[in-house]
Symmetry: C2
Subunit: 225 residues, 2 copies
């Protein structure tokens, strides 16, 4: 994806490119309609310099998106997927993904409005979806997850439940902890999760060290109107 086609890209140019991408990610995240001019000045360069690196505004956006995608994938790779119960690995994966790419909600929504052909779109999402898929398939093979549902569908379910959780947090209807616990519960249910070996699954596996019978999900429990 980064061929040595260019014989010699000056260090100067790399610095500019990085600065532009940094500024783009930062500004576009808070205000998706930021002009190229604003991005350029924030990066300390001129608008023409931006156009020297990215042929169009749209290409700049996709480059910014690719950058945060890489970031998220790197974070996901940090969590080892093949250790322990698949359910735990899956939650680790979601957590890692949310900690990085989840910090750019506006940017991530902008992606779906870019006129990308389905192929390109799939290419972009593939790395993150593939990692989810691997864990889900492992869980299915060990019998931890329901094996009758297609992994692709379960990947979509996982991603969208993650969106639901972060959406509720953004809307201020849930705290991060409440959302995490609700996501935990609902995701494992949707996957048809059962305890892998001998692990007790009271309440789908309570989070460790969440003592205090009090405050065990204020919003999680139904206030019954």
């Amino acid at each position: 994806m980064t061929p040595r086609q260019a014989p010699h890209r000056r260090a100067d140019a790399q610095r500019s490119r990085a600065a532009i991408l940094d500024a783009a990610v930062q500004l576009l995240n808070t205000h998706p309609d930021t002009s190229v001019e604003a991005i350029a000045t924030a990066a300390g360069v001129t608008r023409q310099t931006v156009y020297a690196h990215f042929p169009s505004r749209e290409q700049l956006l996709t480059a910014a998106l690719d950058r945060i995608t890489e970031e998220a994938v790197a974070a996901m790779d940090a969590a080892d997927l093949d250790t322990g119960p698949a359910a735990d690995a899956l939650l680790r994966l979601l957590d890692a993904s949310n900690r990085t790419a989840g910090q750019y909600p506006v940017l991530l929504q902008k992606i779906s409005l870019l006129p990308v052909d389905p192929h390109t779109d799939h290419e972009r999402h593939a790395p993150v979806a593939d990692r989810l898929k691997r864990v889900i398939q492992r869980g299915q093979e060990t019998g931890e997850f329901d094996g009758r549902l297609s992994p692709d569908w379960l990947v979509a379910v996982t991603i969208n439940l993650g969106h639901a959780a972060s959406g509720e947090v953004d809307a201020g209807r849930m705290s991060s902890e409440e959302a995490a616990e609700a996501l935990h519960t609902s995701l494992l249910r949707a996957l048809g999760a059962v305890a892998p070996t001998g692990t007790p699954t009271r309440e789908e596996g309570a989070p460790p060290a969440r003592s205090g019978a009090k405050a065990r999900g204020a919003k999680l429990r139904n206030p019954r109107k």
Copy 2:
């Protein structure tokens, strides 16, 4: 929301307004960056006429969104919510919603990028979310759904699983029927559904049931690579 403040809006004006909104919905759905000029000509009027009805492009967009929201709400109200098992009512509701508002995916995504304050955003989504919530609460009261999870969270879960299903269909990875069945299964699991009276719900009930059960959904079953 539509006060008679205007003493006399001529039939002429109403026709123009409707034509503009029609054109806006249609064009923006296929190409969200359509110019006001294009919308105007498609509606058979001039750009200034559009500005006579909508003070800005953004207001035009929100008006178009309100229009399809009304459409969806009307369709949802057509399905009676208080009859039969809550699970069935919920699926009817989702079906109705997907048949109408689900036809404008681009437009519905654009909504989330509009710089609306949380209050306005909530106002807009409230009608559809409220109807979901009512059915979910009814299911919780009858014991059909898990009463420990907050209705708000389950509403978010329902909406986002609906997105997952339509997303998989749009991506060409599932047929409408496959997606409907997968959504059915996963949604009821996530809600902690149990049979209301005597209806057999083999999943969630007992056995791993990995056995016989021949073809019940091509993509639904795991091809196991």
